[in-house]
Symmetry: C4
Subunit: 229 residues, 4 copies
């Protein structure tokens, strides 16, 4: 696999920067208990090019240096890198091709989110932090097998009908998107946390729902006021 | 945001000391698995002034140096610091304004306590360590949206009817108070531990209640005899 | 609190050795997720004397140096040390006074064991590792308040009717004993692990019991053959 | 126990290499929360000889250096090493003797897998990652006592009827096999993760099954396409 030359200097610099960023973000997956062994991946869109930076396939998290990251085009084909790209690359690429506002995609099999996915049951919005981050229920996407466009298509179709940045792919696990790879990682962390908290709440009875108008107001404030300006 | 001058030397020294203490106490939140990402905050009352030291908004725990802490007045307005204060500052300030015995406030979304809060169900006092620390059930506060006095008011009203230093705000999460910020952090740790233990006990049947007179006697001993004099 | 002179050289050496050992064993409690904050303690009998080495009261685990440990007599009175002994010292002392074969005692509020204790329900022996270590069910001791002999008496009476080295004190938490403090710590770790595994097994149905004769044979082999001779 | 001379240079080199590898793989067991105290072991077949490298009995994970590993023959007898071999050595040896394609064996008491084993209930294949790694349900093996061939025989008989590399021995815990010790450790990690995820999914309802033809296709792709070629 020989690397293809990237002639645009801005794109070259962006790739170099995103290799560092995406490698560092992969460390958040085990640090936040979202993955075991090699089962999870983060990607970032390269600004100004139809390219993405992603984890190589089947490589453990402690070997994920910036140099180990691979660059693919939006057909999932390898453009730079010594190793085969993640087997989920086609799904990431499909999302970038169809949703120009997405700058980062994360996929894990985090335990509680995957448990909801195994029952194909959306996570109901019964926590203020869930209203903040997801603006409502976290929806379930279709069952789709790996190896063609079906995961990517299922994600894009499910995201079209929701404010949620997370989708639970049926019997499979969560995917999250965001304006940046870091935002998508944050959503993956929050998705697992709300999946776990609502699961535990439901074990001993029914959580009290939050009124839709209050969900709207919490979501609006969090997306527009929270954090540093 | 330019800093307002603090002219009293004693208050200046207290702020310097509390910046170090509150920054260090924030490290206890992830160390005790009470928070994910940036979702939790600790504050301390500044002795001799209507001021509090608190975490800036949306900043991750590993960036929380003493210098990063911010100082606010009891209307929640920034007095010292380069960053916007935690979006929960108004609730902390309301508690200090109305409860002069409170020297520290902690807010988290710790998983098991938040699960009880999602069902708006108090945690029953069925453990000796719960009698020790909380002197009875941990009560539920009202549903309140962020951004005005309603969280602070709900906390103060709920604390008025209980010996518990912890309150579960409905669909939101726990707040704890204490004579110092460290004591409030300890209560946050114990609140999550009893929320978890009683949840697990309840999953397979009904825990045996402890008689109220024994709860009183355990609480009295722990508050007055336990630890170093 | 001035130290009482220990004139016997052998006893002095044993105390010095046990201070190091007991301090190190306390680190196993948080490392094995058996305690939060300061809620747990380990003690060791001093060979050749009616003395025990134990943790001081209300001190955090990272401050537990050998020098911080305290020495008490079998009435629970402080003999050596600068700090008040653990508030559970009377219970430890009672056990040493009545059970000469016991060389170490551990008390925790580990989550799953405490959950069984809150329901006052023994843990049924449905795992080979439970037969190995405990030789049968883990029994429940009486409800007892701290501050007099009642916890110690409840422990000794419950241990008299079982092969188990662990007892779940009602609404309180587990105590374990062993020929050494290290063995008692191991039993505390195994007690929590079997409490957790059997809890999880029971959540989705009834575990299959193990025949009493097979429990006997597993226990006998493990106590007599396992490990290094 | 004096060491028996190994005269074949290739075998000697293989043993030296496997001592390092097996010692390092034992560190994965606590790192992946599969074991407490000393309860778990990894072995590797020595290529070109009827020998295996395994953990000594009752030794803690932080003392497991390459030199501490022991070498046994396929009757479970010690060939090299200063300590008694793991009490599970007979089971490992039986598997190597009867299944020439197996290069590594792992045994743990990991919590969720052991909970399924306590109910003697196979884990149903309702997750894509379970289809990937195990190709179907994870089966239950018979109840067998330690000390003779019955565990090894139960393993070999159960493995004969399944594509799964994991078997849950009744009331005991999981065993996994693989072409290498590393692959068997990976299966042990994945076995616990799917045991946990499916348990959690089942707590709130029934997971949706995956069609057998889709399980076949996922398993085939993962075994033949995933990872680096």
């Amino acid at each position: 696999m020989t690397d293809q030359p990237v002639t645009d200097t801005g794109v070259r610099d962006a790739i170099a920067r995103l290799r560092v960023e995406v490698a560092a973000l992969h460390a958040e997956l085990p640090a936040n208990d979202l993955v075991v062994w090699t089962a999870g991946n983060v990607s970032a869109r390269v600004p100004g090019a139809d390219l993405l930076v992603i984890k190589p396939s089947g490589v453990r998290y402690d070997e994920l240096t910036p140099e180990a990251m691979v660059v693919c085009d939006f057909d999932g084909q390898l453009v730079q890198g010594e190793r085969a790209p993640s087997s989920d690359t086609a799904a990431h690429a499909y999302v970038y091709r169809h949703l120009p506002e997405v700058g980062g995609v994360v996929h894990t099999h985090s335990t509680y989110a995957t448990a909801w996915a195994a029952r194909r049951e959306p996570i109901p919005c019964v926590l203020t932090m869930m209203a903040d981050e997801f603006g409502g229920d976290i929806p379930v996407g279709p069952f789709a097998v790996i190896g063609d466009d079906s995961i990517g298509r299922g994600l894009v179709e499910t995201l079209a009908g929701t404010r949620s940045r997370a989708v639970l792919m049926a019997n499979h696990g969560p995917f999250t998107v965001g304006p940046t790879a870091k935002a998508a990682v944050k959503s993956a962390v929050m998705c697992e946390e709300v999946a776990r908290t609502v699961h535990i709440a439901r074990q001993l009875g029914e959580p009290t729902p939050i009124e839709p108008a209050l969900i709207d107001s919490l979501h609006d404030r969090y997306q527009n006021v929270y954090g540093q300006r």
